[in-house]
Symmetry: C2
């Protein structure tokens, strides 16, 4: 094999990095904490974007674009928001470079200092609500349902490709409503859009729930989340949707005349997913041979590797492959024939395995004569010799099977690593082994903090759709009464 | 009419601003020079993106993503590039804010100064070629054909919505090749992609040509451009494609082993179009009633306005409209039924005219009884009463006619305002009246500069595909011999 991948069991973190790098998804750039997303990685992100964007639009959301820069003073307006966000960020202070008068290359022109510093957006609530002020005067202007796809910057000290980078790509939806109920419903609708996307497209069996007050977004009254279990049993927060109440409307004075002609502050939501989803995809499904991509997100769904000794054999095999490719493309599948003539088939097999291509076909002259082809599945690493009759229809079905199988496998893994726990001693042991623990909690931040301090575990969410959690009990830490179990785990 | 638009004849510049603002395309933000692209404007940009992206991919280009920030030192590496680009830009000097110890809100933390300042990308040649160094070692790695869709920042002092903004959205393609010929051919291929997009999608009859050395991109050996004529006779540079030679490869030491095993520097191109295309679209086709959108870029291609006095009439008309909408959508058209019940039909007509919707249907109870509908074309402002039989098929054809008619109109306008000119006195008169003048030029920067100083006119391009220009003559300014005419105009 050309590129060795570290075993998960040996070094999970190194395995993750190997996959991101060696499958050509991304790499570190010359700028600290900023990554380059390579074409193969970006093609997966584009698929995510396309599908999510369609789902957003079906809910009535429209795309727009707001400025990259936010005046520093905007961050002072929403008190909680500044505490949560404005600290580690990129600050623009000057607007010109000049040639060093001493010949030392290019330097910042000290005369070009900005009157007010600009912050590179870490998230856009402030600039967007400042804009909405001009858009909203009456109940007739509501709701406003905007989303933007853009880059944001948070000056993270410890970065990891996709999971935590100084600059990342994301979408941020920002909606404005006439009532609290409508805004809360929109926040819930959008987290369910994320959950459906995670389950049906990414094959991720996520848990949907509310964040505890402690883990809420800065400025939110409620934060909803989708939480995914990675193969090391850790939780990854994969998307969040916030009910922001009237906090931003009050900070930026966004009022509307209601049907009775009275002025009221507008109600808000915001919701986002980012290139972090790429990290979730890698870690949830990958194996020791490389990436395992769900067919719905695979840039190449079927790869074909010809095997031949003579040019005549090559031509015959390639002819047949092109015919199958045409059929598959007509069904909407993306297919690549690997015609590179400087590489051995075994090398190609390993490379496409590393890149997670769901289905691989190999065919030589003998297969062609026998009317057969070798079909390999990436998810199970199994091979089968099949008749060429009806091969396209077979692969069409196989891709659906693989999508489902990847989900089922992830779900079985999750279900095997999530359990109820009612003993504090047991909790401390089990949480270390990579489990999601369903526990009673007394609802206080103090208890949550104490548990975190002792075990590093946090409340990932208070589930909304897991009926096993809806039962009375006693807090695992304080023993006080609790009305429902919550999900504890160690998280990324 | 709800929103008045300034007449073009009265104040062309104000007319442009009115269209951008009142048709809900964009507005200024709280950040100097940065615009907000509103949902209706962004929907047009999304259509442009989608179609261009497909055209790029057909040429083998893949998308990727490179960092927003560029280390300051990178700009010193390519001497011409720093002269042309690195001056007016946004400079990040710090990475943290803090609460003002004196209680004055949020301030920049002086301890969080970056060791090396970061520049918000004005264009990405430097960071991309620094990345390509790791991707390219052998001829087998070539060509590299990447594009990115992203935001860039150039600290413009005088800004106008879409035409010149501090932040704008664009795509930038960056390709790497083994030979000069291949790179030059790629630069030419991409300018022709832009020309085809401009003509077939934007209905803009652009002129394709080379820039004079003086107007080349900083660091390029050749710059190709598409130039469009606006309704005031000024030229708008709508897209450029550069052959960069080995300049960036040398600055960032990107070499490859050729087939003979010898090390060579890589050959480069870059090419881009931006949200400036939105400005071209507004100015090329708009009229005194508002936007005129070519059907291929219209977010709403057909709008239907019901006319009724009773609820019964309304229901009957809307039923029929929904049936037509379904038919049109099945043909791939986007349709909106304007069911708003607080607005008069006349108000709606004016609003959709302002927004440039290509086709408007109006129908009342009497039309329904007669089996007819009123069909209004935005491009010609004509109305026709038509039979409902086969109406969807008729509109399908009408949209094609409108696309062609908008192009034809723009082409006739351009052809009526472009002429050969061989007298310097005539040149000085005519250039003021908004003409493109085809003139002989002696090929020197001095002459070009002298003409610009006296008339503000610049060489827009040395056309590649206009045979009328291929003739011998004498320079209009110096009288020296010239082998071909070039296009002079005053530009945006």
């Amino acid at each position: 094999m050309a590129k060795e991948v570290t075993n998960r069991a040996e070094n999970y973190s190194q395995w993750y990095n190997d996959l991101a790098l060696k499958a050509d998804l991304a790499e570190q750039s010359a700028v600290r904490g900023c990554m380059v997303i390579k074409p193969y990685g970006y093609a997966i992100w584009e698929k995510m974007q396309g599908i999510l964007d369609g789902m957003f639009k079906q809910t009535g959301v429209q795309n727009a674009y707001f400025p990259l820069f936010i005046p520093k003073s905007f961050f002072s307006r929403e008190a909680e928001h500044v505490a949560g966000f404005a600290k580690e960020c990129a600050v623009v202070t000057h607007h010109r470079l000049m040639n060093d008068p001493n010949g030392g290359g290019v330097v910042v022109d000290p005369d070009a200092k900005l009157e007010e510093e600009l912050i590179v957006r870490p998230t856009s609530e402030t600039i967007i609500w400042n804009t909405y002020k001009n858009w909203i005067t009456s109940w007739r202007d509501l709701p406003v349902l905007c989303n933007q796809w853009c880059n944001v910057v948070r000056w993270e000290m410890r970065t990891r490709l996709f999971l935590r980078t100084a600059e990342f790509l994301w979408q941020e939806g920002h909606t404005a409503h006439a009532t609290a109920e409508e805004a809360q419903a929109k926040a819930e609708e959008m987290v369910q859009v994320y959950a459906r996307f995670a389950r049906e497209v990414m094959a991720l069996p996520v848990i949907v729930g509310h964040k505890s007050p402690n883990e809420r977004f800065a400025g939110a009254l409620d934060t909803l989340t989708i939480e995914a279990m990675m193969q090391d049993g850790k939780a990854l927060q994969a998307g969040t949707s916030h009910f922001l109440g009237q906090n931003f409307a009050k900070s930026f004075d966004v009022q509307f005349a209601n049907k009775d002609g009275k002025q009221e502050y507008v109600w808000a939501t915001s919701w986002g997913v980012s290139t972090r989803l790429m990290g979730a995809l890698i870690m949830a499904h990958g194996d020791d041979n490389g990436l395992v991509l769900p067919p719905k997100l695979a840039p190449i769904q079927v790869v074909m590797v010809p095997i031949f000794r003579t040019e005549e054999e090559m031509n015959a095999v390639l002819d047949k492959m092109h015919a199958i490719k045409k059929e598959l493309e007509a069904m909407g599948h993306s297919v690549r024939i690997d015609e590179r003539d400087t590489l051995r088939p075994g090398f190609k097999f390993a490379e496409w395995e590393l890149k997670g291509v769901p289905v691989r076909l190999a065919m030589g002259a003998r297969d062609l004569a026998a009317g057969t082809v070798e079909v390999a599945r990436r998810d199970t690493l199994t091979k089968e010799t099949m008749s060429l009759d009806g091969i396209a229809a077979h692969i069409d079905g196989l891709l659906e099977d693989i999508q489902q199988n990847i989900y089922d496998k992830a779900e079985a893994f999750r279900d095997g690593n999530i359990e109820k726990c009612d003993s504090w001693e047991e909790f401390k042991e089990k949480i270390k082994t990579g489990k999601f623990l369903l526990c009673h909690w007394d609802g206080t931040t103090e208890t949550e903090q104490a548990i975190k301090d002792e075990t590093k575990a946090t409340i990932r969410c208070i589930p909304v759709d897991t009926c096993v959690c809806k039962e009375e009990g006693k807090c695992i830490y304080s023993g006080k009464p609790s009305g429902q179990r919550v999900v504890f785990a160690i998280s990324y």
